[in-house]
Subunit: 350 residues, 4 copies
Amino acid sequence: MTDPIDVAILGASGYTGAELVRLLLRHPHVRIAALTADRKAGQAMADVFPQFSGIELPRLTTIAEVDLDAIDLVFCALPHGTTQGVIADLFARKPSLKVVDLSADFRLADPAAYETWYGHPHQQLALQEEAAFGVVELNREAIAKARLVANPGCHSTTSILPVVPLLKDKLIHPDQIVITSATGMSGAGRAAKEEMLFSEVSEGVHAYGVGKHRHTAELDQEFDKAAGRPARATFTPLLIPMNRGIYATITVTLEGGATAEQLHETLARTYAGEPFVTVLPFGKVPQSRHVRGSNGVQLGVVADRGPDRAVLISTLDNLTKGASGQAVQNMNLICRFPETSGLEQLAIFP
Amino acid sequence: MTDPIDVAILGASGYTGAELVRLLLRHPHVRIAALTADRKAGQAMADVFPQFSGIELPRLTTIAEVDLDAIDLVFCALPHGTTQGVIADLFARKPSLKVVDLSADFRLADPAAYETWYGHPHQQLALQEEAAFGVVELNREAIAKARLVANPGCHSTTSILPVVPLLKDKLIHPDQIVITSATGMSGAGRAAKEEMLFSEVSEGVHAYGVGKHRHTAELDQEFDKAAGRPARATFTPLLIPMNRGIYATITVTLEGGATAEQLHETLARTYAGEPFVTVLPFGKVPQSRHVRGSNGVQLGVVADRGPDRAVLISTLDNLTKGASGQAVQNMNLICRFPETSGLEQLAIFP
Amino acid sequence: MTDPIDVAILGASGYTGAELVRLLLRHPHVRIAALTADRKAGQAMADVFPQFSGIELPRLTTIAEVDLDAIDLVFCALPHGTTQGVIADLFARKPSLKVVDLSADFRLADPAAYETWYGHPHQQLALQEEAAFGVVELNREAIAKARLVANPGCHSTTSILPVVPLLKDKLIHPDQIVITSATGMSGAGRAAKEEMLFSEVSEGVHAYGVGKHRHTAELDQEFDKAAGRPARATFTPLLIPMNRGIYATITVTLEGGATAEQLHETLARTYAGEPFVTVLPFGKVPQSRHVRGSNGVQLGVVADRGPDRAVLISTLDNLTKGASGQAVQNMNLICRFPETSGLEQLAIFP
Amino acid sequence: MTDPIDVAILGASGYTGAELVRLLLRHPHVRIAALTADRKAGQAMADVFPQFSGIELPRLTTIAEVDLDAIDLVFCALPHGTTQGVIADLFARKPSLKVVDLSADFRLADPAAYETWYGHPHQQLALQEEAAFGVVELNREAIAKARLVANPGCHSTTSILPVVPLLKDKLIHPDQIVITSATGMSGAGRAAKEEMLFSEVSEGVHAYGVGKHRHTAELDQEFDKAAGRPARATFTPLLIPMNRGIYATITVTLEGGATAEQLHETLARTYAGEPFVTVLPFGKVPQSRHVRGSNGVQLGVVADRGPDRAVLISTLDNLTKGASGQAVQNMNLICRFPETSGLEQLAIFP
């Protein structure tokens, strides 16, 4: 039996923080030792998230109050931009610490790309270089030996999983990838903004960040690497009235005489044995509700009419596999726990 | 002042039937003279749709019971396949009748295309040839002199309006059109099916008819005609948890050095003065909720990063401009009423 | 033909403001002459509410910028507390003005009740005394001659309409009224608050203001008056995941041998001929969706098992009959327009 | 370590069946040995509920095909009426079997009450007498030694938990209980009916079964027993647009000088130490979303204005504690497993 580790969750008053608590409270090898939320420091977690009423949890504190000596691993669920300084400071105080970062700060390996997409130079170039990109199924080796893992974006994970293996095998044209990625509201976080009010979101749909959503940079990075040359995806996110779920519809053009069936075989082979990725039978279309609340991903491949195109569909729960679940999966890998520990929850449907 | 006409609505117990009643009850030149619903014949409309409680309306009857002598125009909101026979019979009984058909039966001019997409030969070839395709803004001349108008599909109208003018002007590649079209549930009708239950639809999203949705045939017909050669669109519909609305995200590749701004100019010019089509400022993204309950369409054009692609966004209410509202607009054109009569309702938001 | 009047809407950037614009744009006797929104002054209405894109409307201004000389009637959709001063100032500048106030400031005739429920003394006692309480169907005479009408609360209107006639006729016990009133989110307004975010509201329900919601004061005022002695209602509002609608379930105890059928007869008689109030057949249960977007109210009376109790159900659209629609109805009464002018829209279902 | 038992789920293609599978797949002491669904016999569970794709489960069979010799306990999730014969037959074939029945067939101990509420005489009077009523927290002793447990209705459990202890302690008037109980759609099951379609349910609310909902009989039975004399509750269920959750608002009149605080103390004392029932601090209002997907119940007590009334609020997930979760809890009790086995999932919010 492995000894439990002590973890801190920085930014516990947001949705990904709450999701980390939900998962870690049932993780057999983890103790939640600290929870921080600077503006809500002093409050009980149950005041901020009443689903934890009656459950023993550390009170919310500031980051400064966390006793790092007692912490083995930190989940960092803070806003991007400020995160890089916080993590640099953590490592300065305790170099042996492990960190899984849910922000965007360490996802892009290329400083120039970071500056282009985020509008300012990266402040922690050494850490940026050190960080492993945390799409577990495609990057296990690097993650397992990392001190700092950059948990990828929810949209990014959803599209990287089906596209990267096909680019690697040169089955699809790298410059003809069109992604529409519908997401629920929880991915937008818990900050009070007019455009996130119930009445602004329910009974309707709209695109956002068209032509400029920052997850595109993560897609570029991984697609280019897989294709061995610059790829070109057009990525359009949609906001739809649901809490959880990402649903990517990816139209691809087949390369070198490949067939849609071959795409399916490649994905089925790539993800055979993966505990969290299910490739549905060829032609079957997944639904986001069938992974809700779980760490699962469902992938589908459907032929378009005509021989040269196919539609890939990929869905996951943005708070679980798209954020906190994948973060736990990364922790499991780093800490040599069974990769499914704490992540066995099945999807909730209906 | 125009004399009012007497209309019959065949298939009044479905959602498009109820929407026709909603619009026509406030139409200054129309009297609702007959409502049919074969399986619910004998019931009051308020029993089937309690929003009409306290409002005087003809009782539901069978089609056979309708006195065609007293009817000037028929809205036919019946299932496809059976509709063609019903309409042929109506014309046999009264050749001077006007018919606006909301089914798919007369939308495809090419008998071969019909047979391919619907799996059986068309039974009324003469009527098929005679029917005008009812996207009003693009086909006014033919509609105005038609006896039979085929009201187009809701997904079709949504994508035809932004794409056809751009194909005509050779601004986009006809074979590089990728459409993801998200729709609410009311478009699926009122038949009791497991997959349409609230708990199967809420809090989730899924694609359907991937690679084979029949509205693709309407897109092909209109896109080919506009391009002057075979076009190729990949069309993927999504079902999302809302009642009303279609939201098409259309990724296009620019042709011959065209810019996204030029696409916008062309659409703005094409639809200037149109009462129901609003082209938003360049770069602005519409939302489906801002046309809810109205006959309006909102179009947006956004440049993708990189010079060669753009994203067109088109949204309308599937029951209004996508079905019954456009049907009333077609009637207005046929009957020489002002085109906005009965269609002045503004969108309901929130 | 009546000459059109010129109206100003103060607080046009909120939901009730937008609903007023929706209704008044189609009102045959009204011109929208001014729209104010202090924090958004200078913006176009279409920037704040894109459903008005392509429609000509005055730009948003501050209240101070409104030229009162050119205004006949003001709709005041401002927060309570500040409203009383604003309206006093309007009358000081133009005593002949008509004002329909959608805030709570002038609803309570008793200064002591106001102070109890709102926590501070009323600042405009003369106006408070002058104001007419704007439940149109029950107070036409006073409203018709008023300069200032206090549009009642959405929950209040919903419960006053079925309960008051029964109290007047002494058919129910005044001290045994239990009301649960479920409301959609649009009634909470457009201010950005965490508890109003989509993810905090969807897929769940909760009560709020239990034992202390301020609409209780309006119920007390009207119930006491109708009963001729202090009544006692227990009023519990529920927040449910929908945009529009109030749905009151009112459990009453029958008095003096009255039967549930008699309750129904009394309501049917009271509201016979009312254009906006429909009393469903005895035993029939209304649904909020069947009045959505309209100014209609649907009332139902159902017997409880056992002889001594009944359940009244009342539903309306909180933004229409519960706020802006009733405000227009009040204006129509004050200005001697037909009472249904601008309010003919039928409910939108689905 | 306890040996695992083998269970069969009869009626596995419905929502409560799927919820049982979700819970039991992670139960440390249970093997799912058989799944039945008469009309879908032969299909894989993943075809009927795709959230189980990639998970090994028995194929669906008919009830007749189940090898009872290999089964220790049966969960019966079949429609009421037919269930009683099925269970009698099971016991005839294997008297040592344990059965947890999720239908209504064995909930009422009184044959006359059953006949009144269900319209036909009970066919298995001996079993009816034998069955234990499965509200675990209030009936552990009887359940622990039962062969047949009648899992109570979802509305019933929600209201029994807060009301029964208060009646036992004579703190509230037995004849002044008014319950409004809002429920999500999943409680209505998976049968395809028009009134359960998404478009009929979303964006609205309505009451159903007013004055005659059958769960009233369960409330009567338990309330009468607790009060020691006939109680009288008025029970009105509301259907609201969400998947999961029951939310009861219970207005009570205090008896013998009791205070709302005393009600709270009694409930806090009664449920102290219960793993699934959380009594919130006095005056705090629960939300259904904070128990979503868990077996938890949250109770709140709020004073009404005035001294003599209080509002109790009780919420649970209708598919978990309101059905399948409680069924597993009953099994745990019968089989001497830890009561929380398989039920440790935390609520999913957002």
